[in-house]
Amino acid sequence: MFHVKHRRLALVGLLAVALIAVGCGGIQQPDGWASPVQIGDRLLVQARSGQLSLIDPSNGQPAWQYPTDDFGDRPFYSTPVRDGDFLYLADYKGRVTRLDISGGHPVVSWVVELDGQLVATPLLRGDSLFVPSEHGDIAVIDAASGGVTRVVRTSDRRIWSSPVANGGSLYVTDLDNGVTLAFDVATGERVWEQSASGPSAADLTLDGSLLLVGAFDRSLHALDVDQGGAEQWAFPGDGWFMARPMVDGQTVYAATMRGSVYAVDRETGAQRWAFTAEDGAEFRAAPALVDGNVVVAARDGRVFALDSSTGNLAWSVDSLADGSLNADPLVDGENIYYVTSKHNLVRVTAGSVQTVPLAAAR
């Protein structure tokens, strides 16, 4: 009896220790979700957390890598911005770098250390680079010299969505307050503020005067930027809208993190069709339009191609690779490139429904 009691106690103790060990483990490290960028016939991808490689997509061999050291804790969430022979990089720890790639290898033009972590992809507008941070600031950097000319204060909340600009205005949303703001590009003055849009981490889409904001309030909001951000319509979905919405003609395509894809009328917000993937699919990456199909990639690696006019499934790919798909795709003709969270580059050829894992540039 005594021994049985002790054995039970020991078993309970072991189970408790195992559970606690499980509970203590698995602290997530930032990996980054920068999308691939096309430079000529090569692709710039985040082949390791914090390191970009310019690779040949046919064999995965790198032409160059940047940086070559001290990059482990500086992943890229923002996609590199290309302007001719220059690349603008913004890493998670707040470092903004301009690279001159005209000579075939990257040469650092300037480096600016900003206060605050950077997730949103910067916007290059004229001679200025607008870099939003998690502190709620937008640093305006002179693209030529790297000098910070102005810091526009939006709020003390995180900005994850890439801003967009139209004419003299710049539009941005924040993750915590759920406010969409319009600023004067030249002066940094606030033009209007709209709080109907909800907390947003999705990159914005501006189509004419229609600003599309995918939000965590499970709605896709359409704001009229010419009417002071007045909400034109709001489309309720089944989950968070994290992926950047896509506009094609009079239809808006948006995907949720509950596995649904919606086609919505651009003018009215009325639903045209909906598709819901089974088995807990999450759509974080933006949809892409390829050969008349809306192609969406789920976090677990499944890719679905839906007929853009009916929403019917045209084809699908079961699983691309290990890791999850968070980054927006790059479409090059009939090829769609995805980078996984394990920094593997994957090519999906829509016509033949093939997945070709490319050799990672390590």
């Binding site: 408790a16 195992a18 559970l19 606690i20 499980v22 509970g23 203590c24 698995g26 602290i27 997530q28 490290q29 930032p30 990996d31 979700w33 969430y77 997730v119 995180r158 994850w160 993750l175 915590d176 907390p199 981490a201 965590f216 309030d217 499970r218 989950g239 968070w240 994290m242 993190m257 509950r258 807990g280 999450e282 974080r284 968070n326 969270s341």
Partner: protein
């Protein structure tokens, strides 16, 4: 089912949803949600806590008898048997004090993970929350959660102020639990152990709080403060007085006098000196050979000072039962 899945399905995910739901109900304040959660867990554990507090009192009650046994029996096996008998007769479970602490520990670890997951220490973490939330509207809409509370970032590590608060609260709790009567125990080892526990446990936990998200520190401080209040209300402060916190020399200078041990509410009498220690091994063996009845009689006869009604009535019941 793998153990990771068990942890996630039965503890982590429900706790994530509870915390996010509470945050929605507390006007979007995650700090308030943590405080409400602390009150709820302490309320659920109240019966166990009460048992622990009574067990603590009973353990202090039987200290004189324990010392008597330790002196009387040299054979460790026999000594342990007698101690176990004593525990049984007094209705004391020596592990009873550990119950609420052990129960709180998985909650503490789970909360550590939950705070990291819900507040999202990485951008991926914020998005991962989506698949951990139940399909309930107000829970889904509560994200992202507010990270700030009373000027603190609840997701940030390294809050010295909070670590100091946790240390102070835990030290005070330990100080009250181990009142001066217990510290004055004749066993040098026991006194040393008591002293060590009084400092080590608060130090360990405040160190842990320092290297954890501030939200966890808020939980632990609130939980300790509630524990202190419960102890004060249901057991009393014992020999503890605020004046005892003043160092000796200053105490004299300020004219602070401490009450005699055993006179405070909830305090235990100072252990009475036990009979002269047997000097030779032979007499020890003789004592060992004598039955536990002798010890029982001695214990019954030697008990002095006030006893709690609860423990005396419990002993009386047992005696009647034995006779019957």
């Amino acid at each position: 089912m793998p153990i990771g899945a068990i942890w996630q399905t039965f503890l982590e995910t429900p706790l994530i949803n509870i915390m996010v739901g509470l945050s929605a109900l507390t006007f979007g304040s995650y700090g308030l949600a943590i405080l409400v959660f602390t009150v709820i867990t302490r309320a659920l554990m109240f019966p166990l806590t009460l048992r622990m507090l009574h067990s603590m009192r009973s353990l202090q009650d039987i200290q004189p008898q324990m010392q008597e046994i330790q002196k009387k029996y040299s054979d460790p096996r026999r000594r342990n048997e007698e101690i176990m008998k004593l525990y049984k007769e007094a209705g004391v479970n020596p592990l009873g004090c550990l119950g609420p602490q052990l129960l709180q520990f998985p909650i503490f670890i789970a909360l550590y993970q939950v705070i990291r997951i819900t507040l999202g220490n990485t951008p991926e973490g914020v998005l991962d929350l989506s698949r951990r939330l139940y399909d309930v509207g107000f829970i889904q809409d509560a994200v992202p959660l507010s990270r700030t509370f009373l000027g603190m970032d609840l997701g940030e590590n390294g809050n010295f102020f909070l670590a100091a608060l946790v240390f102070a609260a835990m030290w005070l709790q330990q100080r009250i639990s181990t009142n001066r009567s217990a510290q004055a125990a004749p066993s040098a080892n026991q006194a040393q152990m008591t002293q060590m526990m009084q400092w080590m446990l608060p130090l360990i936990f405040s160190w842990f709080v320092l290297f954890s998200p501030a939200g966890l520190g808020v939980y632990w401080f609130a939980s300790t403060a509630i524990g202190l209040i419960l102890q004060w209300v249901f057991v009393g402060p014992g020999d503890f007085t605020w004046g005892s916190l003043v160092p000796g020399p200053f105490r004299d200078a300020l004219g602070i006098t401490l009450p005699e041990p055993g006179t405070g509410r909830g305090s235990r009498p100072r252990p009475q000196p036990v009979a002269a220690k047997n000097s030779d091994a032979e007499s020890r063996e003789n004592d060992d050979a004598s039955s536990g009845d002798e010890r029982k009689n001695g214990r019954r006869g030697s008990r002095q000072g006030p006893r709690s009604t609860r423990s005396s009535s419990r002993s009386s019941r047992r005696r009647r039962h034995h006779r019957g």
